[in-house]
């Protein structure tokens, strides 16, 4: 850690603040006879901090002021779509009928909640061009796992049991191979071509009767729309494989083109990216999966549907349906319902036109920053980008400066760094996704900071190597953090 002016304001740990005997609660006098805990259950090696309520509140409130979040600045973390989360989402999610419903209540008593889930399924179908949707998966990677299990179940149900290989581009999110591996499949990496598209010749060579399918992110993690998308999908379909869409980058496509229409067989949505539900510490996430007609029977059970048709004087009854060949339940209860309310609110507030504008502004904003950085940073695969783009964080004129140094220096300019070192196919990658919610002044301030840093890299490289200078803590020891996994100040004694 480097010497740092701001270190003086750093908050002590909660253990440093502890004082023996201090307490945050006063227990009422017991109205039953006092009993001692059995011998052996009492531990003297458990130094829980002892503080008053106000001390705890102040400690964590002080710590929270060190946080950087989308409510206090731009969060251009590529592939994460850290868009602003409108506050009305929080209002609707707190309506008592939504907030206090129990997942095991009889369906007759939660019809409003079920209608909301049903309507969200319908909207996601309409937005994506798929025939059916499950809301169950807890996050994006969970959606992928669900999708891979559905693909596998589809092949098996046809007696097509030789299929064990999943094709995955070298620009893919790491969760794609992980989800395939967890499902017992063999991962085959497909390289990208010189324009950042999937290499069609390599794809063709890898396709045979053992292929479960292809997992494809479009636009991909370079922020590029694959120029041979239909051909790639065709190649996989021809050998009997299915094409899974990683929906991480759906924000670029909303209202413009639908994955289902492009030939994808299934895809997950990230409600916490595209549909403005909290992302990261504020989560949980939510990763619904949409599928084409032929896969609808395999969706996790249950999905939300009409279980009793309505009549003139009676509304339909909404409830739970089990798809005929379902892969089973993949989440307890009904998924992350609070996120459904927020995503529903977001879609309802924008409407069809508004959703299209989201995609248009997301793409415009990314291209604007890209144009401003042109000539200052090397931009591999220099094409018109979609919602994000990737630059190289290195210059021949600044040997020794790496993407990480640029990321750290950006913190001195009070911006959250972009994603770095991903995708792996770009040297010293910095992946920038401004999202649609930023205005021109913010985009310019961010571009100005990056341009200034590019100059500093050549004239005062130590400013970058030693950054950040203005944060409560300076440069962290990332190697020690990753190698030395003992996080706490104490560990219970191990009984031999």
């Amino acid at each position: 850690m480097t010497e740092n002016l701001a270190v003086s304001i750093v908050e002590p740990t909660i253990y440093d603040l502890s004082s023996p005997g201090r307490t945050g609660v006063t227990f009422p006098a017991p109205d039953v006879p006092k009993a001692e805990l059995p011998q052996g259950l009492l531990r003297s090696d458990l130094p829980l901090p002892e503080l008053g309520e106000v001390d705890v509140v102040r400690h964590y409130t002080n710590l929270s002021t060190f946080n950087y979040n989308v409510d206090n600045g731009l969060y251009p973390l590529g592939s994460c779509t850290m868009k602003y989360n409108p506050k009305i989402n929080e209002d609707t999610a707190r309506l008592p009928g939504f907030a206090f419903a129990h997942p095991l209540q009889p369906v007759e008593t939660v019809q409003g909640n079920l209608v909301l889930m049903y309507q969200l399924q319908e909207w996601l179908k309409e937005i994506s061009g798929f025939a059916a949707v499950t809301l169950q998966p807890a996050a994006g990677a969970h959606g992928e796992l669900t999708g891979v299990l559905i693909m596998h179940a589809y092949h098996n149900s046809r007696g097509d049991i030789k299929r064990k290989k999943m094709l995955i581009p070298d620009s893919a999110h790491g969760t794609n191979p992980a989800s395939s591996s967890m499902s017992g499949l063999e991962v085959v990496q497909i390289p990208s071509d010189g324009r950042g598209n999937l290499d069609l010749a390599a794809l063709k060579a890898a396709c045979d009767e053992t292929v479960v399918g292809l997992m494809l992110t479009n636009p991909n993690t370079l922020g590029l729309f694959d120029e041979h998308l239909e051909e790639a999908i065709q190649i996989v379909h021809t050998c009997g494989g299915l094409v899974y869409g990683d929906g991480a980058n759906l924000n670029a496509l909303l209202g413009i083109i639908r994955p289902g229409d492009m030939g994808f067989d299934l895809m997950h949505f990230n409600l916490h990216k595209t549909f403005s539900t909290p992302h990261g510490g504020g989560g949980p996430g939510s990763g619904p999966v949409g599928v084409s007609e032929k896969l609808a029977d395999f969706l996790p059970s249950p999905i939300i549907g009409i279980v009793e048709e309505g009549q003139d004087d009676r509304l339909p009854l909404y409830g739970f349906l089990s798809p005929a060949k379902s892969i089973g339940r993949i989440k307890s209860f009904n998924g992350h319902f609070g996120m459904f309310v927020r995503a529903y609110t977001y879609i309802a507030m924008h409407g069809a036109e508004g959703l299209r504008e989201i995609a248009e502004y997301a793409v415009l904003n990314a291209n604007y920053i890209k144009a401003r950085l042109n000539g200052k940073y090397a931009i591999p695969y220099d094409r018109t980008c979609m919602h994000e783009f990737v630059v190289e964080g290195q210059w021949a004129a600044a040997p020794g400066v790496r993407a990480l140094d640029i990321a750290k220096r950006l913190m001195d300019y009070e911006f959250h760094p972009p994603t770095n070192y991903f995708p792996l196919i770009v040297h010293e990658a910095l992946m920038i996704e401004p999202t649609e919610t930023e205005n021109k002044a913010t985009l310019d301030a961010f571009a100005d900071a990056l341009i200034k840093i590019a100059e500093e890299a050549k004239t005062q490289p130590e400013l970058l190597k030693e950054a950040p200078h203005k944060t409560p803590f300076g440069r962290m020891d990332e190697v020690k953090a990753a190698r030395d996994l003992v996080l706490c100040c104490w560990l219970p004694e191990v009984n031999e």
Binding site: F422, L424, A482, R483
Partner: protein, 125 residues
């Protein structure tokens, strides 16, 4: 960059020493990965490994990567010490940082040091 002349190389940045049967990660690979914080050899002594199939998982502060068998052969030994000291892969990739030792291998598909040097230069652009 250190690319010893007596070794053979793969496109996925592994080296293989035909005289000792040892294999590991190249200097280029460790420098691209930067500080390595975790390594797990995923094959065991006696396993038959196939060229291009994973032999180890390697994680650095930048990325997670897999290391692949440079040749098709049988595993004679694995470097047990690596798991506790993954930084050896950074400091001594061709020596103490060897990953597996294999026996009876055909090296005809591998690059020599000259070809590998060119291959690394192309990628550094």
């Amino acid at each position: 960059m250190n690319i010893p002349a007596n070794l053979k190389y793969t496109k996925t940045d592994e080296w293989f020493d035909p005289s000792t049967g040892k294999a590991g990660l190249t200097d280029y690979a460790q420098s691209q990965l930067s500080d390595i914080v975790f390594v797990e050899i995923v094959v065991a002594v006696g396993d038959a490994v196939k060229s291009g199939k994973p032999i180890a998982s390697v994680e650095s502060v930048k990325a997670a990567a897999e290391s692949y068998a440079p040749v098709t052969a049988k595993v004679a030994a694995i470097n047990e010490g690596l798991a506790d000291n993954p930084e050896i892969l950074n400091s001594d990739p061709y020596g103490k940082g060897w990953m597996i030792e294999i026996e009876g291998a055909d090296v005809s598909g591998l690059m020599d040091a000259g070809a590998y040097t060119k291959y690394c230069e192309e990628r550094s652009h």
